[in-house]
């Protein structure tokens, strides 16, 4: 069997006749993951990062290396001796100079094709006087900025559904969390590992006919041992239905009987194609249906008026017509077969898929770019539309937090500790020194007053925060640099599925968890 990765490469690089150019060679290892479509999305993206901390520059490093289009780093502070000690993108000589400029200078060296800009203004001033600035980016990331400013920025972006997504990152010592704020997020290439239907249960006419026409008995042993299992199953199911009032095997006993009928067709004990048919026989009784997540989406009345929304509407119309399936995928898995039979079978699927793609296109009420239609149809079974939430919304819903405390105890406890740290930082008057255990616990109790907290989890989290409330540890920064950049890439490329909610990280016991918002 071939992985999806190689299928994508085949599609994306089908024209390369000679050794690829330098750019393709440079990006080879990532193109095998997100292909040219993902790369071009990355190259068109403009990312704003606020705060030139070690964590922030680590995130940027992992966006500059794969070739993001543009970065702006916004920071008005100067490099401190502590900054020069924990940030790879500062040197001793950076001390006293502007943090954004110093970091951008060294980040830009990583990749010539990235446009990199330092903005030395104070984010507070920008928020006060230049709000449209933020709408010029495709994604905004912050690290440990003042809670009041973060709240203002998050609210500003949330107020407009077409704003860029926001990823606020928080860390202290060995603990961290980040949130992904977006209204909706459209994904066509989800790269889901669920296999697509081969329509064994609902064979299209050409497939059924081809399967029926094969003369198994007249074949010599070589040909018989190379019949693709798709034909074997389609035929066996066809025969079965004829004998069972048009119904597929349903009970356990019937399924076993179906399998033994397949086994009985074997000429020799080790006919691999019949073994494959038995292994794949679930396809005969698993109905090809619209995946539940799509049924749910179709039921949603607020499908956006974007090309993706139009495609989704057409997909709904398509799936409403008999035989109530999604357009056929062209990808046929490898199976025991001679070349000729396999290529013929592949062509049957291709022809049918092309036909269904045209039927799909005819159902579009608003015209959509051809390539996008093709991409959408090819990935139809995995398309997703995520609905996100506003940063801070979870903290405003104590009943949700309470529920999370029951099932996601350590994640919620760590999140509450960060909430408390922010509340402490925002509450005047600020004492000298860091927060104390009791101060943080007071903030937690005031948020979820009526809940019995898990003492161990709370003290583990609070204890680590008061130990190192302002520490941006190099390894934690590097970890966040990777994991946040990864979410940024998923958001930008609209491939794979990003975190929806908080991702909470504990690098003492080395775990991560997700807290849905």
């Amino acid at each position: 069997m071939v992985s999806n990765g190689s299928q994508d490469i085949k599609a994306e690089m089908a024209t390369s006749e000679v050794q690829p150019d330098n750019k393709t060679r440079r990006y080879d290892r990532q193109l095998r993951l997100w292909a040219a479509t993902g790369q071009s999305a990355l190259e068109s993206a403009r990312v704003l990062v606020i705060g030139a901390s070690a964590t922030a520059t680590s995130i940027l490093k992992n966006l500059v290396l794969p070739g993001i289009g543009h970065i702006t780093l916004l920071d008005h502070c100067v490099v401190s001796p502590a900054d020069a000690g924990n940030n790879f993108f500062f040197e001793g000589s950076s001390i006293g100079r502007n943090r954004a400029e110093e970091a951008v200078y060294r980040l830009a060296e990583l990749n010539d094709s990235v446009q990199a800009r330092a903005d030395t203004r104070d984010v507070a001033d920008v928020l006060a006087s230049d709000q449209s600035y933020f709408f010029g980016f495709s994604l905004i990331i912050t690290h440990n900025i003042a809670p009041v400013l973060l709240k203002r920025l998050a609210d500003l972006l949330w107020s407009n559904p077409s704003s860029p997504p926001l990823i606020p990152v928080r860390s202290a010592g060995f603990l961290a969390e980040f949130f992904v704020q977006f209204h909706t997020h459209e994904i066509i290439e989800s790269h889901t590992e669920d296999s697509t239907s081969l329509r064994i249960d609902k064979p299209f006419p050409a497939l059924l006919q081809a399967a029926r026409e094969l003369k198994f008995d007249a074949m010599d042993t070589t040909d018989h041992g190379h019949i693709p299992y798709v034909y074997i199953l389609v035929r066996a199911l066809d025969d079965w239905k004829t004998a069972h009032d048009g119904l597929p095997p349903q009970t356990y006993a019937e399924k076993q009987e179906f399998k033994s009928l397949l086994n009985a067709q074997k000429r020799t004990l080790d006919e691999e194609n019949f073994d494959e048919a038995v292994a794949q026989s679930y396809r005969a009784w698993t109905p090809t249906i619209t995946p539940p997540h799509l049924v749910e989406l179709f039921a949603d009345t607020t499908i956006p008026s974007t090309p993706f929304g139009h495609l989704l509407a057409a997909l709904q119309s398509f799936s409403r017509r008999p035989p109530h399936v999604l357009p056929l995928s062209v990808t046929l898995p490898d199976m025991k077969s001679d070349t000729e039979s396999y290529v013929r079978l592949q062509n049957l699927y291709r022809t049918q898929a092309a036909e269904e793609r045209e039927q799909f296109r005819a159902l579009l009420r608003v015209p959509v770019q051809n390539e996008l239609v093709d991409l959408f149809v090819k990935n139809a079974h995995g398309v997703q539309l995520l609905k996100g939430a506003c940063y801070g919304a979870l903290d405003a819903t104590p009943e949700k937090l309470t529920a999370h405390l029951g099932s996601l105890t350590r994640e919620t406890a760590t999140h509450l500790a960060f909430f408390a740290l922010d509340a402490w930082r925002s509450s005047p008057p600020r004492q000298s020194g860091g927060p104390t255990d009791s101060e943080l616990r007071e903030h937690i109790v005031s948020l979820v007053p009526s809940v019995e907290l898990d003492e161990k989890e709370i003290s583990d989290a609070v204890g680590e925060i008061i130990r190192a409330p302002t520490a941006d540890l190099p390894n934690v920064a590097a970890f966040l640099g990777g994991i946040v950049a990864q979410e940024a890439i998923k958001m930008i490329t609209r491939q794979y599925i990003p975190v929806n909610g908080y991702c909470v990280i504990d690098l003492v016991d080395t775990w991560t968890g997700v807290l849905p918002s």
């Binding site: 010599d220 042993t221 070589t222 041992g225 190379h226």
Partner: protein, 177 residues
């Protein structure tokens, strides 16, 4: 540093120092010394001190290849048993599942290799090819075609090839014992 050593002392059965023999080598020793081969199969080590390179001679005592001695080379690398041994037939032989370069079509030598298999399973698999040549998934297409179409002719070709004769313009090695 964490006090690993104190953890070690708490271990019930503190492991003792182990010899500097690689896992691959111990595994090969285990495989070889536990070989249970019929008299039709004999291993030969050109250098008895080198367990990773040797040959296996198969002399079938039944079937159409009876009377021949077929020699396979085994090369084992340090990634054994994560990787299978590399096995080739050292002679040009007329067999549907062995090509003229000595490549052998045996599933457990490639796609179905698992570390739980051992040298014994490979050798038994090789011997089976001489008892039951498989015409349906061939490497030597001409031979397979013949076996399918005309078994008598095929057997004749086998005998002829084993004497060092030509079949369809290809001269085969004399493998008679």
């Amino acid at each position: 540093m964490i006090k690993i050593w104190s953890m070690k002392k708490n271990e019930e059965a503190a492991a003792k120092r182990k010899p500097k023999t690689s896992a691959a080598q111990i595994r090969v020793q285990k495989d070889l010394t536990e070989l249970d081969l019929p008299s039709t199969m004999v291993t030969h080590f050109p250098n008895p001190a080198d367990l990773l390179n040797f040959t296996l001679t198969i002399t079938p005592d039944e079937g159409m290849y009876k009377g021949g001695a077929f020699i396979f080379s085994f090369v084992i690398n340090m990634n054994y048993p994560h990787e299978p041994p590399k096995v080739k037939c050292t002679q040009t032989i007329y067999h549907p599942n062995v090509d003229l370069e000595g490549n052998v079509c045996l599933n457990i030598l490639r796609e179905d290799w698992k570390p739980v298999l051992n040298l014994n399973s490979v050798m038994v698999g090789l011997q089976y090819l001489f008892l039951e040549p498989n015409a349906d998934d061939p490497l030597n297409k001409d031979a397979a075609e013949e076996l399918r179409r005309n078994r008598e002719q095929f057997i004749y070709n086998v005998k002829h090839s084993m004497r060092g004769g030509y079949v369809k313009g290809v001269q085969y090695a004399n493998v008679l014992t």
